[in-house]
């Protein structure tokens, strides 16, 4: 093995480390949180949590993304449980309108403080 071989090995190891590092950290950085809306078991849409907006879901519900949090602004259902639910922002959190079969859930690679809530 001569000097060039060592340089080549060094370069290859460096490239491998870079690729690995990219894959490793890119996964972590890729944790942009998304709001996923499901209506009657079907995917309704996915929305970036970092963009404030209002989303009308069919003609029964309307939710709002503001400062990285999601809340149900309006629902025509009788119990209004979804509208009274606190805003959600952490991965795994959900707001559900059972009568209208609408589910708002936050998907993120970063977990929230809790993995689930019993009630």
């Amino acid at each position: 093995m001569n000097k060039h071989d060592f340089i080549l090995i060094a370069v290859v190891v460096a490239v491998a480390a870079l690729i690995w590092g990219y894959l490793f950290f890119a996964r972590e950085d890729d944790a942009d949180s998304m709001l996923v809306i499901t209506a009657d078991g079907e995917m309704y849409g996915q929305y970036d949590l970092s963009v404030d907006r209002e989303i009308t879901i069919g003609d029964t519900n309307r939710c709002v993304i503001k400062d990285g949090s999601v809340s149900m602004k309006w629902s025509d259902c009788a119990n209004q449980v979804c509208v009274e639910h606190m805003a959600i922002s952490q991965g795994g959190e959900t707001i559900v309108c059972v009568p209208n079969r609408i589910i708002l859930s936050i998907e993120s690679d970063k977990g929230g403080d809790v993995d689930a809530v019993v009630r």
């Binding site: 290859v12 190891v13 690729i19 589910i103 859930s105 690679d109 689930a116």
Partner: protein, 322 residues
């Protein structure tokens, strides 16, 4: 040149090795609506999409077995039988036998024959109302778990009008069924959340315990009174703040007293049970609510010393047991 070829092979192996290091199980999650509530199942594994689909079809099966209101479900057929005795499925036999066991252990306070009274209250309706005293009394005469006899798969009724309500047990049983399915499939890490009945399989992929928050009674949904760490176990709460309504300033909640046919009068607003199996936890959360703290603690001590409980009183006092 041969040197380079050998080197290239080494490089390939090296990068594959490095790749392997970062290949942790992936997260698969699915949310849906079953048992009139939202359920979320999270599974860590490789290609676990199929497992999730299977979990949801188990939920569907369980709904087709234990729903009291869904026409054609096994429970519906049992409640609308023409004969004195019926043959029931394995699932049904397990859940009914657990229900009858806790009827004995609770001195009759936890009664799965409460169905005729539950039907009058209809807490799930958009516009619930208080049933008339006469209707409640008429329904109460059929509430008596001692008139139901289970022997193997044969369920015998002394009274033709007796109907069963298994809502306090079905979600716990469904969670156990899903967990044993995932375990059989080789999954080592999953969280099953059936409308607030939470059952963990193993711990999180990073080796830490799951954090389960407990809803604060009467606070906004999502506000927590406590957080518990769970490793391979179940957390279930029962309380007076879920499925309730107010008429003329009086709040009516869904945990009914089999002696009066009215919501059970208690100074507790919530009981949470931490146990291994979710069927036990689901039943015990209601049973312990009905028994009250002192009697509940005696019962828990006699059952399994590893079961823990958290009692929340209407004045906000929190008492932890175990």
């Amino acid at each position: 040149m041969r040197n380079y070829a050998a080197l290239a092979v080494c490089i390939c192996l090296f990068s594959i090795l490095l790749q392997g290091c970062s290949d942790s199980p992936e997260k698969y999650a699915k949310t849906g609506i079953f048992f009139d509530t939202a359920i979320t199942i999270t599974v860590y594994g490789t290609n676990a999409e199929e497992n999730l689909t299977q979990c949801f079809s188990i939920c569907e099966d369980m709904e087709d077995t234990f729903s009291r209101t869904k026409k054609g479900s096994e429970l519906y057929e049992i409640n609308h039988r023409n004969t004195q005795s019926v043959t029931v499925s394995d699932d049904m036999a397990t859940v009914i036998s657990e229900g009858l066991r806790f009827w004995k252990l609770s001195d009759g306070l936890f009664d799965i024959t409460i169905a005729p009274v539950t039907e009058l209250w209809d807490f799930k309706s958009d516009d619930p109302s208080v049933p008339s005293q006469g209707d409640v009394e008429a329904a109460l005469q059929y509430v008596d778990a001692s008139s139901v006899h289970l022997s193997g798969h044969t369920l015998q009724f002394d009274n033709g009008h007796t109907q069963l309500e298994l809502g306090a047990l079905a979600k716990g049983y469904a969670a156990d069924r899903i967990k044993s399915y995932l375990k059989m499939e080789g999954i080592q890490s999953a969280l099953i959340n059936l409308g607030g009945n939470v059952l963990a399989l193993g711990e999180k992929p990073d080796g830490s315990a799951w954090n389960v928050g407990i809803q604060k009674p009467f606070a906004d949904a999502g506000e927590m009174i406590d957080t518990v760490s769970v490793d391979d176990g179940s957390v279930v709460s029962s309380g007076t703040y879920e499925r309730c309504f107010t008429v003329d300033g009086i709040r009516y909640h869904h945990i009914l007293d089999p002696r009066t046919g009215y919501p059970f009068d208690s100074d507790l607003s919530q009981v949470t049970i931490l146990s291994d199996a979710s069927l036990t936890g689901d039943s015990l959360s209601t049973v312990c609510f009905l028994l009250g703290e002192d009697q509940a603690e005696n019962l828990l001590a006699s059952l399994d010393p590893s079961i823990r409980a958290i009692f929340v009183y209407t004045d906000g006092t929190v008492v932890k047991y175990g």
